[in-house]
């Protein structure tokens, strides 16, 4: 990302920017099994064995102090950056705008780790993975899991990778919840926390949207009480859930800019009930492409984990939740995000400052809504890069 700060009097010679890419990346898996590897979940249930899918970019340095953990949001996965190189017209990882050589999470400097969280459907143990006891997908037999449980599993992964501490943990939305939980659960391992477009607890409005999405899935006859084969999942319900989600990820302004009131055929009203407006076409596309890459039961579980995340309830007061934390925080919100509104980030900032922590906060101007944290076109990248530089300097001194 280039940001022109000041234009010098004489223009320098213009050279095309050097475009460097990550070398081909691949998703790896590790399975924690055997005695002592049973995972005890907050719900009281247990899980064994536990498989985790992950990717890493860059190299762990000799001091093993340049690792950055990336936490993904609801529909993300371990593939955060670069290309797998398996298909033509392949899209890069979901946070490729931020991660790579010379980018904010500079893979020349940092060892970046990204894993599919516990309960996901992209290689880690979750409702769509095979239950070794039955040889069939877990489905609704999979235990309920929480953000805290996800963080426990990520901790195991770091141990496996030989990473004793993290320079930073970073993530947006549900990923940001994991960041907060990391700083609380393992304060001695985290040197910097970057929660983006997130909250200490969802608003009832956000829970309401999650519930409507779940009902869309569960009222699809193909859902069949959660018992479906993976090639015949409740596509209509899951697609509808995703359409609802996408309305909440955008803003009114973003929709106005993207689609205005334009018709698909460009002519005007076609007096039919199939999709007629471009905004409808967008939502349908988001829905139908989502069902090809996501699992319906997993969607139910993850949205529940988000609903249940509540640091105030878990620790009595928000500032109490952070009282054991030691690291600097960089909190980032976006002006047009109404799903995780800036006000909730300011609450985080307030609680963190009350316990005397080093907090930076920026409410970045963007009309892209909640989705802004995944998109280029604003200053999040610069802000994150500056914070990571500071953490590196602090770690060195």
């Amino acid at each position: 990302m280039t940001q022109i700060v000041k234009r010098p009097e004489t223009l320098p010679e213009i050279r095309p920017p050097e475009i460097r890419r990550l070398e081909q990346v691949r998703t790896q898996t590790i399975t924690f099994e055997g005695p002592g590897e049973t995972l005890h979940l907050e719900s009281g249930q247990t899980l064994h064995p536990v498989t985790v899918a992950y990717e890493t970019y860059g190299r762990l340095n000799e001091g093993r102090d340049n690792a950055v953990l990336v936490c993904h949001a609801l529909s993300g996965d371990a593939h955060a950056a670069g290309y797998h190189g398996l298909e033509k017209d392949e899209k890069p990882g979901w946070w490729d705008v931020l991660i790579g050589p010379g980018k904010s999470l500079d893979t020349d400097k940092y060892f970046v780790i990204s894993s599919n969280f516990l309960g996901g459907c992209k290689g880690s143990a979750g409702p769509s993975s095979i239950n070794p006891a039955t040889g069939k997908p877990y489905g609704l037999d999979f235990p309920f899991y929480t953000v805290k449980d996800m963080v426990q599993v990520q901790r195991r992964l770091l141990k496996h990778l030989g990473v004793p501490r993290l320079l930073a943990v970073i993530g947006g939305s549900l990923g940001g919840m994991q960041v907060l939980q990391w700083a609380i659960s393992f304060p001695g391992m985290v040197r910097g926390a970057i929660p983006i477009a997130t909250t200490a607890r969802l608003s009832p409005q956000a829970i309401a949207f999650n519930e409507v999405a779940r009902q869309a899935i569960m009222s699809d006859p193909d859902w069949n009480g959660g018992d479906y084969s993976l090639d015949a999942q409740p596509e209509r319900g899951l697609g509808l859930a995703r359409m609802i989600g996408h309305i909440t990820y955008l803003s009114e302004q973003a929709m106005l800019h993207k689609f205005s009131r334009r018709y698909i055929n460009g002519q005007g009203r076609s007096f039919c009930l199939t999709k007629d407006f471009q905004v409808e076409s967008y939502l349908h596309h988001q829905g139908s492409s989502f069902v090809r890459r996501f699992d319906a039961n997993t969607y139910l579980y993850i949205t529940r984990a988000m609903d249940y995340f509540d640091l105030e309830a878990a620790y009595g007061r928000l500032s109490t939740a952070f009282s054991g934390c030691r690291c600097p925080f960089l909190v980032v919100s976006f002006t047009s995000d109404w799903l995780f509104p800036p006000e909730q980030s300011r609450e985080l900032v307030q609680a963190l400052r009350r316990v005397g922590l080093d907090v930076s906060y920026c409410n970045i101007e963007s009309d892209q809504g909640h989705d802004a944290f995944l998109l280029p076109g604003h200053r999040m990248g610069d802000v994150v890069a500056g914070f990571l530089n500071r953490l590196t300097r602090m770690a060195a001194s």
């Binding site: 307030q350 009350r354 920026c362 610069d382 802000v383 890069a385 300097r393």
Partner: protein
């Protein structure tokens, strides 16, 4: 919403840059090595960077303008985007060695409250502002009948972020009234290159900028 809030996004702060940087050297000289410093209204972080380099301070900044905050953070400074007054309510007493209010007081809705709060959270409070009874301003009003637009007050009446006026004498009177201990006073006017030149006598008449160092406790 404070007045600062309303104006923050429309003001061209680059116009006041020479004035805002004019006292940096003096401010740095008043800050002890390794101090914990809170810069209220820190702009793009120029002063904090200098304090970090020259005085190895532990820096914190508060700024309302989002672009300036992003600039600070990209430069690796610890800054929060917040209303100045609101940002102080979360801080305990004497949380900082030094609190800086560099050329921001006149743009705030409740300057007295802000000063009182600054003196609560800081051991030393450094306050600077343009002196409205500077002789050039007086003569401009008297002889030309126009409000001043000059390097220390570089805005027209309709686009100024300042919603207050202050003079050296008035500020001294306030300090006396509130029994604030004035540790140091420093007065300058700007030369043709906008460089500060010290003013020793008759500051209320001859200085265009004033810097006061207030100390906690009763004077």
């Amino acid at each position: 919403m404070s007045a600062h809030c309303v104006t923050a996004q429309q003001v061209d702060w680059s116009r006041s840059r020479p004035r805002d940087r004019a006292l940096d050297t003096s401010i740095v000289s008043l800050v002890p090595q390794g101090a914990r410093v809170l810069d209220l209204g820190c702009g793009n972080g120029d002063l904090l960077l200098r304090l970090k380099a020259d005085r190895k301070v532990e820096e914190r900044g508060v700024e309302l303008e989002p672009g300036a905050v992003a600039e600070c953070l990209s430069r690796g400074l610890s800054v929060i985007q917040a209303d100045l007054e609101e940002s102080l309510t979360d801080l305990r007493e004497v949380a900082f060695d030094v609190v800086v209010l560099n050329q921001v007081l006149l743009a705030t809705a409740r300057p007295l409250h802000l000063l009182t709060e600054a003196l609560r959270v800081g051991r030393l409070v450094l306050v600077s502002f343009p002196n409205f009874t500077y002789w050039r301003i007086r003569s401009q009003i008297v002889f030309k009948g126009r409000l001043p637009v000059n390097p220390t007050l570089p805005y027209q009446w309709y686009d100024t972020p300042n919603i207050r006026l202050a003079t050296v004498k008035d500020f001294r009177a306030l300090c006396q009234d509130k029994r604030w201990k004035v540790n140091k006073e420093l007065f300058v006017n700007l030369d043709r290159q906008d460089l500060p030149r010290p003013v020793r006598f008759w500051p209320n008449m001859r200085a265009s900028l004033a810097l006061f160092a207030l100390e906690r406790g009763q004077g």
